[in-house]
Amino acid sequence: MKKTILILSAILVAGFSFAQMPDKFVKAMEAKMAAIDTTISVQGLTDLANAFERIAETEKNQWLAYYYAAYCNASAGLMAGSGGDIMTAKADKTDPYADKAEKQIKKAEELMKDNSEIFVVKKMVATLRMIGDPMNRYMTYGPEAQAALDEAKKLDANNPRVYLLEGQDKFFTPQEFGGSKEEAKILFEKAQKLYETFKPASTVHPNWGKGTVAYFLSQYK
């Protein structure tokens, strides 16, 4: 009974928020979302993050705009933090992105509680924090990233992005540190299966990652 009420109210809330999405918003969002998959530079992702932020700050009640702003900032930060010596602290480079992403995902969460997608981005932000200063932040942000991923899975066990991120972790971790290409494959396959049936709630709801999974699985052939 409790669960039914929960589901019903979730549907109601979801329905309510669709009703709240103005045309102009949806169009602007769709345009920028299309660019997400083709943007491969820090500058480009920052540009997109800023665009989503403008939409978010104008509308103020659309969690998706904050969500994408955070996602783009986290991605930009992860890209800015790649390269160079791994163990070296680069928080001065990555933290500004993490600061922004963290603020934005917090706003998204205020508007949309207990959403799996939001926890996926929270995982990315925690990871970004960690690579900023691995030596000193592992103990804090390692468990935080894991907790966010666990929460994302708990909220929606059918969210393919959860398994994509989990699979990537497994794929790239050296074997002696608990990585496993085989376990990763199982996770990617699970993600792919879920992508087949995954239907975003609308054209502007999160739907990224399918191509990435396909790429990883192609590595096994």
Partner: protein
């Protein structure tokens, strides 16, 4: 030799994420073609819709006056319209809005920009934007002269991070050990403490969470350096000032070591340690809402097994044995506040003999039993937006029962004629209470003022018992009340000053002092800065030379420090020159039938030198190392010195090389350290009935020490690992190089003997386990 650990290396798995996001970039390239047509459609779509209404183009360039600024977000407020500046700082966007709007520009590290504009719906508006740099902790100059910081804060002065304190090979898990590899500190092995820039160990004071710690080290033993009482894992931040420290601290002529304790633990966990010198166990519980934690630990240390294998110079009838425990709780009082309590208890004893230098065939006996109890309560809280309060209380009770005497070859206590004085008992019982309150008010930018007060109370009782049973009880109470104020003034991002004053009043001396402090820092370039520091420092005469038959005053030191520092994320270069002048140092003599009593403040001295520090994480692949070098030229006339000389605790040249390497495939972390000190002088000072003179003097050989440590971390990198293990093997003075700290003389002055470490080589083998107890599943289960 406790708990050497290599936690940070678990983080190696983070390289995963770097690779991840390289791959991410490639993947995105792959998907471009697929989505290209889709994108084209959107561009066309937007293009068409945007052609319809009347539009204004807004364009311009964003700079910081000199250089173009990249990735600045330009927004027409309350609309979707805006742009991000490109690599040349240019931006451009179209808008169909009409009327009055706010154009804003924001970028991290710069103050937000706002300008009112009126849109007509046509034409092009060119608006160039100049952003002003925001004064932030990351970009601003740091007042760093005289200061080393070991913390995880991203600051220029942070030359070490908190984990370096425990992974420095020669440190042996001791808080002050790693600091001895930094320039400014001497390599002194015959007694504990930090001897900084020609100063004695007593000239360095140690503070935990703001308040003074009175018995930081275990009880002193002749010619053996005692360890610090506190585990390095208790602290998250260490500030080691070798000169010119802040007005918030006082009563230290040379140096202040400021330790900040850890906050709430990450999770509930239990730990267990086993080693050749003892066992320890602990438990920490973190409440479900993560706002409260409590815990405790107990350690039993017994050096018998280690001493059975590693031959000691001393012969122990009671090997050093320690029972120590601690309890703590930490409460998050608000989002910004934390209340911390930490208590430490120790009971220890040792009893040994060494061959007597005074009479052949006899033994000198020394024994000490210690009880120590330390409580620290501190509270930190932000009050409103601008105010911050830091308050701390600490209480210490320390009891030492010291026994000295002579034994014959059959280990029977004897009193020899002419050497009766060698048999004595000294019972010390001291109570210390310290309180401190600091209020801080933030001003514009990073500027702030701080002020407050400190109170140090001590009540030290001693009973000195002669061989014949005659007792000399003594009791000394002291109240030192201090007030201080200090201002950080950021004139610009690149120029800052710290101006402070400290006022102290001593009830024992019946004197007051006013000590000004001043420092200045200037950012020369993006990575380099120069700083200066000046200050006057006062300290009471040491307790062991009191009571004095005469009126005494505060001892005084004046510091002048100039520093140049260049810091990038992979390299740190730090060079410092200093001059320190000592006045009113205590002179000792015969009084009340005792030698070594403070008689006046006619002592003086000075110290000057140059120091270099270089840390490099890049030049040698996968090796992190630092090198320090100090040159020290110092002379002083104090205690019973006949005239100003270089004291026996000052080497002219001191150097250290510390390296760390983690071999991922083996999961082993290698730490090595080499410490060097040039020959120190030694003296035999005697009294001829009217004055002190040098009966003998000389120089000891140079000091070399090579230490290595291997940490094996088998559980490293296991994802979701709740437990982990560390196995440690460390060897001090691995090559058994002979080390001589000085000389001691027989009572009649006819014989001298080298002061050497208890053993040439020391080997430590241990294992440390931590068991994380994750309650999150339990919490989830309760919810449903």
């Amino acid at each position: 030799m406790r708990q050497p650990l290599g936690l940070p290396f678990l983080s190696k798995i983070n390289l995963v994420y770097n690779i991840n996001y390289f791959m991410f970039v490639f993947l995105k390239r792959k998907t471009i073609m697929r989505t290209f047509s889709q994108t084209l459609f959107f561009f066309l779509f937007i293009g068409i819709t945007n052609l319809l209404p009347a539009q204004t183009t807004i364009t311009g360039k964003v700079t910081d006056k000199k250089n173009p600024l990249v990735a600045v977000s330009i927004t027409l407020k309350d609309t979707y319209d805006g742009a991000t500046s490109d690599s040349s700082g240019r931006y451009s966007f179209k808008t169909s809005e009409k009327g009055e709007f706010l154009l804003t520009a924001t970028s991290v590290g710069y103050r937000p920009f706002e300008q009112k504009i009126t849109l007509s719906g046509q034409g092009t508006m060119t608006i160039d934007i100049v952003l002003k740099e925001e004064v932030t902790e990351l970009s601003a100059v740091v007042i760093s002269a005289g200061t080393f910081e070991a913390s995880d804060r991203k600051r220029a002065a942070a030359v070490l991070n908190s984990i370096d304190i425990v992974t420095t090979a020669s440190a042996n898990g001791d808080v002050t050990g790693a600091l001895k590899t930094l320039p400014g500190a001497q390599q002194i092995g015959e007694s504990e403490g930090l001897f900084v820039r020609g100063g004695t160990a007593a000239e360095t004071k140690i503070f935990i969470d703001g308040t003074l710690v009175n018995n930081f080290f275990h009880s002193s033993t002749p010619n053996i350096a005692s360890y610090g009482r506190f585990s390095p894992f208790l602290f998250k931040g260490t500030v080691f000032s070798t000169g010119g420290y802040s007005a918030l601290y006082g009563q230290a002529l040379s140096s202040a070591l400021i330790l900040e304790s850890i906050d709430l633990p990450e999770r509930t966990s239990a730990s267990l340690g086993l080693s050749v010198i003892g066992v320890n166990g602990g438990y920490q519980e973190l409440s479900k809402n993560k706002k409260f934690s409590w815990g405790g630990a107990y350690a039993y240390t017994n050096l018998a097994p280690a001493f059975a294998i590693i031959k000691q110079k001393q012969e122990y009838s009671q090997v050093p044995e320690f029972h120590s425990g601690d309890v703590n709780f930490r409460i998050k009082t608000s989002a910004t506040g934390i209340l911390k309590y930490y208590a430490y208890f120790n009971k220890s004893r040792l009893d040994f003999t060494v061959k007597s230098i005074d009479t052949i065939g006899y033994l000198d006996r020394f024994a000490v039993a210690n009880f120590n109890m330390y409580h620290n309560l501190s509270w930190k809280e932000k009050l409103g937006k601008r105010w911050q309060i830091n308050a701390g209380l600490s209480y210490t009770n320390n009891k030492d029962d010291i026994r000295s005497g002579m034994k014959d070859a059959g280990k029977n206590e004897v009193v020899l004629p002419g050497l009766e004085w060698k048999k004595f008992a000294l019972d010390l019982d001291a109570n210390y209470f310290n309180a401190k309150l600091v209020l801080e008010r933030k001003l514009k930018g990073l500027s702030a003022i701080r002020f407050g007060g400190e109170y140090n109370y001590s009540d030290e009782k001693s009973v000195y018992t002669l061989y014949n049973g005659q007792e000399f009880p003594d009791r000394l109470k002291e109240n030192i009340k201090s007030a201080f104020a200090e201002g950080d003034i950021y004139i610009t991002n690149a120029l800052a000053a710290k101006i402070g004053t400290r006022f102290e009043q001593s009830s024992l001396l019946e004197k007051t002092n006013i000590a000004p402090r001043f420092s200045l820092a200037y950012k020369v370039s993006k990575h380099a800065q120069a700083s200066l520091a000046y200050g006057i420092f006062y300290q009471n005469p040491e307790r062991r030379y009191l009571p004095s038959p005469n009126d005494l005053v505060f001892m005084k030191a004046t510091h002048y420090v100039a520093q140049y520092m260049k810091v990038t994320s992979v390299r740190t270069l730090r060079a410092e020159v200093f001059y320190k002048k000592y006045d009113n140092l205590v002179k000792t003599g015969f009084a009340n039938g005792r030698d070594g009593v403070a008689i006046n403040n006619n002592g003086f001295g000075d110290a000057k030198g140059i120091e270099f520090f270089w840390r490099d994480k890049k030049t040698i692949k996968n090796v992190d190392f630092w090198v320090s070098y100090s040159f020290l030229d110092t002379k002083r006339d104090f205690l019973n010195f006949p005239y100003a000389i270089t004291p026996n605790f000052a080497a002219k040249h001191t150097a250290s090389i510390v390296m760390k390497k983690f071999v991922q495939a083996w999961k082993i972390q290698f730490n090595g350290a080499y410490n060097y000190a040039s020959s120190r002088p030694y003296y035999d000072i005697r009294f001829d009935g009217s004055r002190y003179y040098f009966a003998d003097m000389g120089k000891v050989q140079d000091y070399h020490n090579i230490s290595v440590a291997f940490n094996y971390l088998p559980t490293i990198g296991k994802p979701n690992a709740k437990n982990f293990a560390v196995y440690v093997l460390s060897i001090s003075n691995a090559f058994g190089i002979k080390q001589v700290y000085g000389y001691q003389y027989s009572y009649n002055g006819l014989r001298k003997e080298q002061i050497v470490p208890p053993s040439r080589v020391f080997v430590y083998i241990g294992a440390f386990f931590s068991f994380g107890i994750d309650r999150s599943q339990e919490a989830v289960d309760r919810l449903f």
